[in-house]
Symmetry: C2
Subunit: 453 residues, 2 copies
């Protein structure tokens, strides 16, 4: 699944727009731009350098501003919010769904936030407060309050007539109505498909589905995503501890969760944040990157220090200096494979303390086989190269030791890190390579000192 | 978004099941197991070592076998299929949706495939053929043929009566009916929400939505996912070149696409496949890993060869051997950051040949700043450590050169690789570290040879 980006959906339309802009046909560009979906506009803005981005942002119809902001990653969003005055901002986000509003409002200057909250009617204010009372990446943070509820004793006929009277129709992405009792406690869902296919005289109780369990507002976004994926849900009701209906989560927000978690996992390894703007200001990027480079510099100097302990050995056998990076890098590669597999297992919830022993055993077995193979290969090459059987033996042994250490570290690190509340996707790689570098240099130069001098 | 795996949804239920199994209460385990969703059973099977997996597989009700197989990754699926005889297989998958069947049938032994095809009625056979005529990761491969179509001239009243007569109701995940003309050409969709809220006397033409564009069957899975994400779709119609309705794609399959692509990107960097079974047989895993280790060994020896050209230099200044890994690793880290950002930009379709120049310029600017900072830091440490200002100058210069080379390689590699049809997520990392190792050692040892001897 890796085709040229140029074949991404709508890409051509975005390219056309860019071309029109470059020709300076601003009016036409504005028309084309505002014909796009808010998400597409957001996508286009994110793929533009800052100047172009701001230029284009000014062409977006005010009525779309709010939704577009809701789709943007934090970095880009902050840049564009900074361009808007209080009035524009309030007009833009005042109309958003509660979940988007709750998500957005946390990026606003306090003064604006107060203004926005003031501009909301009591009901929306209550909903916003409710949404803000849950962390952003929890079920409560993901939920929206646009639920349409019915009672079990109503007949489907009554329900249909009730729906016809709804002035602004049903909310987008509605596959079911939520059935609650008098006290507002969640009972089940009535799928529109059942509403349409059952006898109108039937009661909601007869046509409703009971096996859609409501999601507790305290669940993490990741748990919500797993539930949606495994139960093929389109929407799911959210409840509090007492089972009272709080709102609902829709699949479009869940797709965003899956995408963000994937970004976090992928970018995290390189010490980047999923909110990273590809075209962030140079200074900002430089500062962020510097932190990561600094951390890695420490590990690099730790490795150098290890080598330093063996200066005399290297002095006498320079071949060691030539070969030592091979030992370290082979360990790093093998360890990364195990680490990657384990991190993904954790993310999918398929690796737990219960089966981690199995994974460890398996990875050690794999490492054992590969350590033999590659010890021989590397030893042979070293022998041919430096015509010295002893160096060949030493590097072979060092490779074996490092591959086993790599498997051990790769399999155990993720679980250990998580137990300490450290994100393996972020810290795993650095620690692993520290281990494989240190063990690699130590084993190779240590053995050489013992047997070759 | 990185919480302990133990809090993954349903995890506790899976743990309970495991415990019951360990106590040997097979009957009870079977009951618990078959109470789960097929996707949950698949998830559980994938998180078990082979023996337990096969044991559990035998407890799954035959009626669920097909669906569970459809949810499994290829490796695990092949293992379990190997345990089933022709009869079981045919019974299991005969009932699957066309898209799942098409996906599964490609993993079956030819003899079985023939049997299965024979067991299908003409209509399903035609649908299967149609599905198989498109690549697995295309819109045609993702689509299902369970469409419910209506004509524009029908009144909503007639439509509702027609739906009530459908013997097995509407298919799962139906948010709209597809409107086609007499020739079966796609015209638009009629959302169930509109069907329910409009006047029953209205015609479909009056209530239907025209702005849901049909997806061409030739679109890639990635394009489909982008469309679903940007248009917040639940289902989308699929058409051929002439605009004839072929089938529809549902959001549950799209979530799988996003998940698989993320896995591919994440595992690919480590030379692993997204079909990788965490508990694959040791020999199989060892063979797969060996390939990756072999490729990386070449690059490691290339770096070693570069160092080898400077044996005399190292002989005279052993400090160089101690410090050279620092130069290489700093380059590797910085380059990986740029590479990761670029690969993700490509995957999201936000990095194209149009704005790649911008990214390159920005990354070079960031590298320029960091190269100055870290050249100074490293030089200072080296000076303090080896009390030699010249070595400090040389390593500082080498760091700067390597960080710039890293940015250049990291920004240009992905686009270049894709132009040659090579998957950057797979090959990018290896090539990048080769560059940063070679440039790092060459710059450091080369400058040392020129100025320190």
């Amino acid at each position: 699944m890796s085709l040229p980006a140029t074949s991404i959906a709508d890409n051509t339309r975005l390219e056309d727009l860019r071309r029109v802009l470059e020709q300076g046909a601003v009016r036409q560009a504005a028309r084309m731009l505002n014909a796009l979906q808010p998400a597409e506009i957001a996508h286009l803005l994110e793929s533009l350098p800052h100047k172009e981005r701001e230029l284009l942002w000014n062409l977006v119809d005010a009525e779309y501003d709010g939704e577009v902001l809701a789709y943007l990653h934090d970095d880009v969003r902050e840049q564009l919010i900074a361009l808007m005055d209080a009035g524009e901002l309030i007009a833009a986000i005042g109309t958003l769904d509660t979940d988007d509003l709750a998500d957005l409002i946390q990026d606003l200057p306090l003064a604006i936030t107060r203004e926005v909250v003031k501009s909301l009617d009591q009901q929306r204010r209550d909903r916003l407060e409710k949404a803000l009372s849950y962390p952003e990446d929890s079920a409560g943070g993901l939920m929206n309050s646009d639920t349409v509820t019915v009672r079990p004793e109503m007949t489907l006929d009554v329900v249909i007539r009730y729906l016809r009277r709804l002035k602004d129709g049903l909310p987008d992405i509605t596959d079911n109505l939520i059935v609650v009792d008098r006290k507002g406690r969640y009972l089940g869902v009535l799928y529109l498909t059942d509403l349409l296919t059952h006898d109108p005289e039937d009661s909601v109780a007869e046509a409703m589905t009971l096996d859609v369990q409501a999601i507790p507002a305290t669940w993490s976004a990741r748990e919500v995503a797993t539930r949606f994926e495994q139960h093929d849900l389109v929407t799911a009701p959210v409840v509090d501890e007492e089972g009272n209906l709080l709102g609902r989560i829709t699949v479009d927000d869940v797709m965003d969760v899956i995408r963000e978690e994937a970004d976090h996992q992928f970018l995290g390894q390189a010490g980047l944040s999923e909110t990273e703007d590809m075209f962030a200001p140079v200074i900002l990027s430089a500062r962020r990157r510097a932190l990561w480079l600094g951390i890695n510099l420490l590990t690099a100097f730790l490795a150098a220090w290890v080598i330093g302990r063996f200066e005399d050995t290297i002095q006498q056998i320079v071949a060691l200096a030539v070969l030592m990076p091979v030992v370290a890098s082979m360990g790093g590669i093998a360890g990364t494979q195990t680490l990657t597999l384990a991190i993904r297992g954790l993310a999918l919830g398929q690796l737990t303390s219960n089966n981690s022993r199995w994974l460890l055993m398996k990875e050690l077995a794999v490492a054992a086989i590969n350590s033999v193979i590659w010890a021989l290969v590397v030893a042979l090459i070293a022998w041919v190269w430096f015509r010295d059987p002893q160096i060949a033996l030493v590097i072979g042994a060092a490779i074996s030791i490092n591959l086993l250490a790599a498997a051990l570290a790769g399999a155990l690190l993720p679980l250990a890190l998580e137990r300490f509340g450290i994100d393996p996707a972020l810290a795993g790689g650095v620690i692993l390579t520290t281990v494989t570098d240190v063990v690699g240099f130590l084993a190779f130069l240590g053995l050489a000192t013992l047997f070759l001098l």
